[in-house]
Every structure is written in C-alpha cells, then in structure tokens.
Amino acid sequence: MTATIFHAVRAFTLTAAVTVCAAGIIEAATPAARVNAPAPEFSATDSDGKTHKLSAYKGKIVVLEWTNNGCPFVGKHYGSGNMQSLQKKYTGQGVVWLTVVSSAPGTQGYVNADEANQDTQKRGAAPTAVLLDPTGALGHLYGAQATPHMYVIDSEGRLVYMGAIDDIPSADPSDIAHAKNYVAAAIDAIKAGQRVSVPATKAYGCSVKYASAE
C-alpha cells in the first residue's frame, strides 16, 4: 500500500555537519504544507485498501496524525487513552481523522495493513482510517518530523494548525491533564467560526523513520 502524491517537489542542497564523519550532501525536499494556505492535495491508501483524496473531504474538517507504535511519546498519548478520546470525540462530530504511518519497512513503527488494523483494534483507536505511507512521500509532503505530529485542515481545505499535540513536550502521561491540547483548540475554533490562535508549534516526539536517501 503506497501513497501517491500529486505535487511538485523541490530539492535543496544541504550541507550536513556530522562530526564523526566528513561533511556530506543531503537532498531535502521543501514540505508543501504551510499554515493558512491550502493543505497539499494527496491521494493515499489506507489499511483496508481504500484510497483517500484530501479534496474529497472538502466540507469536512480533517486531522492528520503521524504515528509510530513503538515511540514512547505516541505511547504517552495512546497508553493514557488521550489520543483515542480525541479521535472518538471529534469523529463523532464529523471530523475526518486520518492516522498516518510513514515508517519505512524495517524501521520502528512500520506496519503492514493487517498489523495496522490490529494496532487500531488493540489500542481501541477510532480514526476514520489509517494511511500507509512506507515510502514517506506523504510525510515529506507535509513535513512531518516527529511522532506524534498533528495537522488540522478546515472544511475549506486550508491548513490551520500544524505541530505538537499539546504544549508539554515530554513522555510523561501525567503531563496530559494540565497541558493545552492544540488539536482540540484548533478544531473547536474552526467550529466556533474563530481564528485558530496558535497555528503552528514545534512537534515533539521521536523522529519519523523515513526511508533513507535513495
């Protein structure tokens, strides 16, 4: 199952300062996702073999949630039931919640379709679908860097929030209760017809395990 992307990718030349090895050149794609701009269109396959196009969800709020089933920060939000509560609450309000796995085969968090469905069942998750992105194309398109990395797209297809799930970067579940949840705040603002007061934050978590440079 792969994600196919309709977009143009620009490559950067990047000088890497890695102290142990000699400096090398790394290609980096500019993510097309920008706040207050149309969210990049995509067409991606889920763990049931169905295709999801962002444009098909016009009129609905869409949440993208990058995950990795072995990451302790993801564990913080799933182990506590926090992520599942958000999923249930907002899908219950008509939000389309898409969990995305961009881990490359052989890396932590990689799941095939069956494993993805088993994970959903085991952890009592309630996303609309789980998108399988082993090539990392969808992840790079959105610039996902850490799991969990969250994106909220309004019903007009505009990206109105991207970044951390909440404002306490830690792996400690006891922080959830007194943290401000940015995803809930963004969705609630959209529904109230208000401006999203915090449109972008730095995501915290484990690095997304992308496929290495080709």
């Binding site: 950067f12 030349t13 990047l14 000088t15 890497a16 300062a17 890695v18 102290t19 142990v20 000699a22 400096a23 790394i26 290609e27 980096a28 794609a29 920008r34 706040v35 072995g70 990451c71 302790p72 920060f73 890396t107 932590q108 790079h140 610039g143 860097q145 850490a146 991207m162 970044g163 970067p169 830690s170 792996a171 449109p199 972008a200 934050t201 730095k202 995501a203 915290y204 978590g205 484990c206 690095s207 997304v208 395990k209 992308y210 290495s212 440079a213």
Partner: protein, 294 residues
C-alpha cells in the same frame, strides 16, 4: 558407579530449553534504559564552602551508538532535565550545556551528545549553614535514542562535607570537569542583532568578530527549537562592516521575540574541533538593519 536416571536427563533438557527461551525473549525485549545511559552525580571539589558557589555535574555515559539531547533537541527528541532536591538555603543554577554535535538524517536534525557528557551546575551555599554535611539529590530525566528512543531517569544523591575555607578539587573528578569546561561555549565578545520576517531570520555580527573564517564555516544553533528550520541551508554573507547569517524561519517561530539566543559555531567542518560562541542577538526593525548596512 553413578546411574543416570532418565528424569535427570529430562530436567537438564528442560533447564537448557528454559535458558534458551529466556535468552531469545531477552533479545526481543526493549533495551533497559539503565544499560543505555549511566548517570552519576559528582562534585568538582571535595567539600562545599559556606557562602560560596561550588560545582556539581551530572555525568552521563551513553552506550555506543546512542545519544542524549542538548537544550534544543532539534526536530525530535527531548532535552535532558535535572530536578534538584536541596536543603534549605542552598540553590542550584541552570545547566551549563556543552556544545552539542549535530546529527542530520535527511530532513531531520538532532542536537545532542554521543558517548558522554557532563552537565555542570553551580550550587550556592548560604553563608550560614548549621550542618557539617550537605546532602543534595538530583532526579535526571533523559531520552536516549539510536534507531529508536528510550526515555530513562535516575535518582542520584551526593553528600559532601561543608567547609569554611575553599575545598581542594576532588582528583577523581578533575578530568571530567576539565573536559566539560573545554566544551562549554564562550560568551561572544561582540554584539549581535537580528531581524525577522515571514520567511527568514537574519542575524548580524560585526565583520571583525570572525577573522579568517570562510562563510561556509559558520552556523547558528538556536537554544529554542521552534525558531528556524534546522535542516535547511544557512547562508552566510560577508559584508564590509557586517557578517549576516540568513536562516530559514520555522512556521512555529514566535514573531514577538525581542532576543534570539544560541550558539555561533565556527569551523564546523575541517577536522579540528569547532569553536562555539554564545550569542544573545537583540531585535532590530528592518529599517534599523538597513541603516546599519548602508
């Protein structure tokens, strides 16, 4: 002559099988955080002096291949944190972070420490301290990453005699403290300014600040992880009166900041150790910036 009972053979076989199964299970278990990072709380001197500052350090030793994080962990990860338990009147400062290394994986940057790091902290004793000994506790929390990340923590304690006079260095720890101090960035002996727009953050320093340094040899590591795109190229422009670092701004950057703090890394590639200068750039409006370069 010893007779071998069949039940003994069975028991031996069961034991061997049990050990085999246990070792296979152990191989699949996630690594024990304590195996990945060893933490110790050490003191620079053999006693602490009333009314004076002494130095402690959390010394972390990482298993080969694993690293812990700097105050700005980069695009993922988590900075090491220390929570001190101090007696009445004793205060601890914030961590003196050694210059980190920069790890780049395609589009994701990490700032951290492989092998080992000593996180120095100043401890100030009150002028009046009625006891002969001081007990200090520290709970250190870290994230150790290699291909995967494992959070860990350690609760450490140290008890030191309290002296009136300056105590001698503890020879066991001298090497660790000396190495750590060499790795701590120096405050920059010049003023830096910055301005910011929707796309870029531009830092300016006097052209005399860095002599005989190629533009490709200068980089900026911010203390705040939300300000710049860490993986994007940084452009350095050498002008007659100023050196300008042009940094791609992160969408998460706070537009209202008036100060931008971080490290100017000079000579980051080329074999020898880079120099790190601690700068605190103050904000200028674009008009002020234009004036200065005219």
């Amino acid at each position: 002559m010893r007779v071998h009972h069949p039940s003994e053979t069975l028991r031996a076989a069961a034991l061997l099988l049990g050990l085999l199964v246990a070792s296979v299970l152990r191989a699949g278990d996630p690594p024990d955080p304590q195996d990945l990072v060893r933490a110790r709380l050490i003191a620079e001197t053999s006693a602490l002096q009333r009314g004076k500052t002494g130095w402690l350090a959390i010394h972390l030793t990482m298993k080969p291949g694993w690293h812990t994080y700097w105050r700005n962990p980069g695009d993922a990860g988590l900075a090491t944190s220390i929570k001190w338990t101090l007696p009445q009147g004793v205060t601890a400062g914030s961590i003196l972070w050694p210059t980190p290394e920069k790890f780049v994986t395609r589009t994701i940057v990490a700032f951290g420490y492989p092998d080992e790091v000593a996180l120095l902290t100043a401890v100030k004793m009150p002028a009046t301290f009625p006891f002969d000994n001081v007990a200090i506790g520290a709970t250190v929390s870290w994230l150790a990453c290699e291909k995967v990340c494992i959070p860990g923590s350690a609760t450490l304690a140290i008890a030191l005699p309290v002296a009136e006079a300056l105590a001698p260095a503890d020879p066991r720890n001298a090497k660790v403290f000396a190495q750590a101090r060499r790795r701590i960035p120096q405050p920059a002996p010049f003023k830096a300014t910055f301005d910011m727009d929707a796309e870029q953050i531009r830092i300016r320093i006097p052209s005399t600040a860095l002599r005989d340094v190629a533009s490709s040899q200068v980089m900026f590591y911010p203390f705040d992880n939300s300000m710049i795109e860490h993986a994007a190229p940084q452009r350095v422009v050498m002008r007659q009166r100023e050196i300008e670092l042009i940094l791609p701004r992160s969408p998460a950057a706070n537009e209202r900041i008036q100060t931008l703090d971080g490290l100017l890394i000079v000579g980051h590639s080329g074999g020898h150790s880079p120099r790190a200068l601690d700068i605190s750039a103050s904000r200028q409006t674009l008009e002020q910036s234009d004036e200065r370069t005219r």
